[in-house]
Subunit: 204 residues, 2 copies
């Protein structure tokens, strides 16, 4: 039997929602997930590694990839470009892996339109007050950037209803467990499972 | 904050799919589920307890309950009546418990029509051959009854596509874990979670 095609999982959420921590916890719980590495034109933050956290690209390099239609989605955000190379995603899905896309709401909308079978999850902090506390606690952003991120968070919140699921990141382990459950449940969706039953055992 | 209303979970599957074992395993994993006890006119099997496995009722008693509109669903199956009293289900849901209904496909259809927000799961054995093996292994049914159950299973299989989820009971613990995940995931559905976010923290 060939491998069942994996799930394409779109994960969005405001900066400061704790996506990186939740994703790391999820990857420890499941071995059948591949994390899609995005390309971006933004500067690396301290400790970020090229090819692991992001593919860090110049604006010129990024423009050439758009021209070559190499992205599943791409978007501009706070003055920088972000995009998901399509080919490695489909390779992983065909091999039976679930692929997790960590993208902001604009890019997520593009993926949902292109791939209606994608499973979309909006990760949010317990409250905007807590989000502000986390952003300030990080100590990497200027006051102006923090205000920009909070304003962006408000705009993103308004899109949460377009996602299949909403996970509140009060505790990273709980949030990862919920993501884990969403993946398991989506594999049990009758639309996905029906073929398996019929293939294995035609009852009539 | 008032308790979030629980999920109404409809579980169906052919006799011999192993529902009782899976439900028992699920109830050990979660403390937030109440198992709805059905009323039936069929005779108790050895070891079954009235009020625990079923409310065993006479045909006359059952008819009076139908007249009083006391059922969420009721159906006839292999010459006997089965039904789910509505009041205790709604009391439990309002108290924040998930309520699990173990009902056959006719009754399930009634519940899905009456309660569009119900979460429906079809539990099936790995194959019809395995189902036959389990039915014979149980040693409680006549050859005629076994054939009747297998024919009914074929008819029920055709309805699996009407359910939200299909869980294959190859191993009871795995099947229970999948049901557990489905409940957790359904609680994260954006339609259900959105109110919670907006109530807790109006972002605009």
């Amino acid at each position: 039997m060939r491998a069942e095609r994996g799930l394409l999982i779109v994960l969005s959420g405001p900066s400061g929602a704790g996506k990186s921590t939740v994703i790391a916890a999820l990857m420890k719980r499941r071995r059948d997930i591949r994390f899609s590495v995005s390309a971006t034109t933004r500067d690396p933050r301290p400790g970020e590694v090229d090819g692991k956290d992001y593919f860090f690209r110049t604006h010129e390099e990024f423009a050439r990839m758009i021209e070559a239609d190499a992205f599943l989605e791409h978007a501009q955000y706070v003055g920088n470009h972000y995009g998901t190379p399509a080919a490695p995603v489909d390779e992983s899905l065909d091999a039976g892996y679930h692929v997790l896309l960590d993208i902001e709401v604009q890019g997520a909308g593009q993926v949902m339109a292109k791939r209606p079978d994608a499973v979309s999850v909006f990760l949010c902090p317990p409250s905007l007050r807590e989000l502000e506390r986390r952003l300030r606690g990080r100590g990497t952003d200027t006051e102006e950037k923090i205000r920009g991120r909070l304003a962006a968070a408000c705009r993103e919140y308004a899109r949460a209803k377009d996602y299949d699921y909403i996970v509140v990141n009060d505790d990273a382990q709980t949030a990862a467990a919920e993501l884990d459950a969403i993946i398991t449940a989506e594999q049990c969706r009758s639309g996905k499972r029906l073929n398996l039953i019929i293939e294995g055992d035609r009852p009539i």
